[in-house]
Structure formats: C-alpha cells, structure tokens
C-alpha cells in the first residue's frame, strides 16, 4: 500500500476539507458547443468534462450500420493538458478505450436506439481537467448533451463515484483518494426511474460497506440531478428573461 502525501481522513474531514458524504462543487452548463447538435460541460470540483453529441445521422461506412437500431459510438479522451504533473500522451490509451466502451454501455439503456435504425449517434467526451471521478463526470455530461441534442431518452444518466478511504465510505473521490484510497465504485443512475446503468468496483469491500456506498451514491446522484435540471432549465429561462426585457 502506497502512503499518501497527506492523510486522507482526519477526524471525519477529508484532505480537501469535505465530510465523507459531501460532493465537491458541481457546475453544469448545457449548450456550450454551437457546432454540435447537443453539448454540456460538467465539473465536479477540479474535474471538468465537456461532451458533444452529433446525430442521429447517416452511418458511414454503411456496412457498419445496424438494421434494427442506431449505433452509438462514444469517445472518452483526456486532453494532454488535463493532468496535474506529466503531459498525457494524446494517443488513446487502453484505459481510455475501455472507459469509452463502459460509458457507451452505461448510456445505451437510457436511449431509444431502436427509433433510428441504420443510423448512428456520436458522443465525444473530452476531459479538460482531471482530478478523479472523470468517468462519472463524463457520464453526466454525455447524458446532458444527448438531452440537449433532443435524442429520445428514458431518463438522464447521472454519474457519481463513491469509495473507501481508511475504512470510511466517501462520496465523489478526488484524484488523491482515487490514487491512495482502498477502493472506488463508479455508479451511473437514472434518477426518475431509480435504475442503475453503470456499476463498477475495485478494491476490497465488505458487503455492508458496499450497501452503504450504493446508498450514498444514489444520494449523491440525486443531488447532481437537481443541479443538472437547473442547468437545463437555465438554457430556456435565460431566453424567457431576455424576451421579458
């Protein structure tokens, strides 16, 4: 076990001063990329993900299209300048390819792909700043971008991470806790339907801790969802206020 540079948990406070069940500051804006059909930017503290959605559109090359539903393609990528110490090589790493696939599988249950046979929906997520929990921030950003593009969907998918630090369950891991904690668990949650589309876990957890963590993740997701709704509303209410002037 690597030793962290600073203690992760002292008297119920985490390294950044948060309590175990506290999210970092959540900032969300929708419609940030005018070229895209839909887009969103999501920050959990220092972690910032930008998502852009194109489609549904024609599938090229045609032989890759599916006869009964749309193909969804997701690209998760970290910008070279997104990391703290060494520049990240811009070439897609094994990790990024895997996360792209994981995100796609977390989004697919929420989307009515069968309404667009022989078409494709492209989702691009760029991490502009990384400080832990990038995949769940990406998931929230991607689902908001899909909603902004008007892709028919069952619900938004909200991503939050929970983890185990010094035997305590904590919400929304930062980079430090991600690296030195005892375990982490990203969760994708559909808040209106109360269904889970993404559940990964690593480290070693007792059953009780897992159950506790899942409860906390859902609580966190509800909080992020309230922020996501606000961001979506803002887009329309700003126009309404402009008109009222």
């Amino acid at each position: 076990m690597k030793q962290p540079p600073v203690p992760l948990l002292v008297e119920g406070r985490r390294a950044d001063g948060r309590t175990p069940d506290q999210m970092r500051e959540v900032k969300i804006s929708v419609g940030v990329i005018s070229n895209a059909d839909g887009s969103a930017m999501v920050s959990y503290g220092n972690t910032t993900a930008v998502a852009a959605v194109y489609g549904p559109r024609e599938m090229h090359p045609r032989h890759l299209s599916l006869p009964d539903r749309a193909v969804m393609r997701v690209r998760y990528h970290m910008a070279p300048f997104s990391t703290r110490d060494e520049r990240k090589n811009p070439a897609p790493s094994r990790r990024e390819i895997e996360i792209s696939k994981v995100l796609r599988e977390a989004l697919e249950p929420a989307i009515f792909l069968e309404q667009f046979p022989r078409s494709r929906i492209d989702v691009f997520v760029e991490i502009v700043q990384a400080d832990g929990s990038t995949r769940v921030a990406s998931l929230t950003a991607a689902s908001l971008a899909l909603a902004d593009a008007g892709v028919p969907m069952r619900d938004l998918v909200i991503g939050v991470s929970v983890g185990l630090v010094n035997g305590t369950v904590v919400l929304d891991l930062n980079g430090l806790e991600d690296n030195y904690g005892e375990g982490d668990m990203p969760v994708g949650y559909m808040p209106n339907l109360g269904r889970i589309t993404l559940l990964q876990l690593d480290g070693s957890w007792s059953r009780d801790k897992f159950a506790e963590a899942l409860k906390l993740a859902i609580k966190g997701a509800e909080y992020v969802y309230s922020k996501a709704r606000e961001a979506l509303k803002t887009k329309y209410f700003e126009i309404a206020e402009e008109v009222a002037k």
């Binding site: 022989r118 909603a147 969907m153 069952r154 209106n192 126009i239 008109v243």
Partner: protein, 236 residues
C-alpha cells in the same frame, strides 16, 4: 391522473400522466405511466396532453416537403442531403415526366452537385440502399431552386413556423416574401428586398429560439408591423 400543467417545460424521465390519460408527442410508457422522452413543452389540446419536443432531429415520413442539397450524381439519380439520419436519393424517373435516355444525356444537365432542390418524400424503406426516396412529381412548386435563399432552423420548430391552421405563416407572409417551408428544418424564401429578407431571418431565428416563451405570435406580429410601417414611410 395528470402530473403536468400547460406550458410547463419538462425533461427526459419526468412524469407526464398515468396511462389512462390520452397523451401524445415525445413520451413513452414505463410501468403504467407516461414519461417525457425529451426536453419538451406541455400543451393541453382538447382533453389531450401533448408533449411538444423543444430539441430534436428530422425524421422523414412519406408526404413531407423537404429542401435538400444534391451531394452526388449516381447512375440513375442523385443522392440528396435532406438532414435525415438516413440516406436519401432522387431517381431520374421521379425528377421529370419526360423520358430521359440515360445513354445520351448526362444527369448533370438536369441537377448537379451543390444544387438545392425542393422535393417530397415519396417513400421510406429501410431495406433499400437509400432508404429515403424523393420525388419532384407529386406536389406543387417542386424542383431545383433557381433564386431566393434557404435558411435553417431546428426541425422540431417547423410546426411553430407554420402555426395553428397556418396562422403564423400567414402573419409572416405579410412581409411580401414567397416562402416554402420544408419539414426537415429548411425554409426557402424569396423576398421583395433586402429589408424584408432581414426581418424574415430575424423572425425565423426568433421562432427557433423563443418557441417555449408565451406570446410568440404577438412578438412576430410586432416585427412584421414595424417592417410595414418603416417600408411605408420609406416610399414617401
């Protein structure tokens, strides 16, 4: 039982009503309840709840008037971009009533890459290589666009440009422009002058952005009236 009120903006997953209500638009049923499937605006139309989507793409259906750009010349027709998620094409047989000897005539003499056309969707068949088949033979004023200009807006806002029983389009027509609205979110217009053109573009942008804010028709009327008074004073 209804969970929504008129003119409410709703988001994917939001409850709309129980399944015994009559509900239309951007909704789906889950566990006996209607939920919204996209960002939308709630409207009540004679005992029906309608969820009008505020965002979305064009889905071609037979009978739609569409405006497209020729992107390729094929052996016996043209590939046309109509902003649909499926490939669209216009066969020679649907482009003209005359018999064309493909041995002797080049298709480019009729339509070439980059040309804009107003067409009607004849058929959507997913088993075809080009699922969307267009025609120029089954409607009024179809064919190559020779003058005027094309402006784009969100396809889900097209019904708002037309308005209830054509009310909005008749208001806009007072600018003196000749207008054809494509269901795929493209609008062709030919105006009497640059001033009318400018006001028309303003109006289209307004409808595209502000359709969820009450009183849209009045705001459009105000723009039209302002143009008419300024055009009237300019003539004196």
């Amino acid at each position: 039982m209804k969970y929504v009120s008129p003119r409410q903006v709703i988001f994917p997953g939001d409850l709309v009503a129980t399944s015994d209500e009559s509900v239309e638009g951007a909704v789906y049923i889950d566990d006996g309840k209607y939920r919204a499937s996209s960002v939308g605006l709630v409207e009540f139309r004679d005992n029906k709840i309608v969820v009008v989507p505020l965002e979305g793409s064009y889905r071609p259906k037979p009978g739609d008037v569409v405006i497209g750009y020729v992107t390729d010349v094929l052996a016996s027709g043209w590939e046309v971009d109509v902003r649909a998620p499926l490939a669209a094409w216009l066969p020679v047989s649907e482009a003209t009533a005359k018999y064309i000897d493909l041995e002797k005539t080049s298709l480019t003499s009729l339509l070439n890459i980059g040309d804009a056309v107003i067409a009607v969707v004849k058929d959507v068949d997913l088993t075809d290589e080009f699922p969307v088949m267009l025609t120029l033979r089954e409607g009024e004023r179809l064919g190559k666009i020779e003058s005027g200009f094309v402006v784009e807006l969100s396809p889900v806002k097209v019904p708002r440009v037309i308005g209830k029983k054509g009310s909005m389009i008749s208001t806009i027509s007072e600018l003196g422009c000749d207008i054809i609205v494509g269901q795929n979110g493209r609008l062709w217009a030919k105006c009497p002058g640059p001033d009318a053109e400018f006001v028309l573009l303003q109006i289209i942008e307004k409808i595209d952005r502000e359709s969820h804010v009450a009183g849209l028709t009045d705001r459009v009327k105000a723009l039209v009236e302002r143009y008419k008074t300024s055009a009237g004073s300019a003539r004196q």
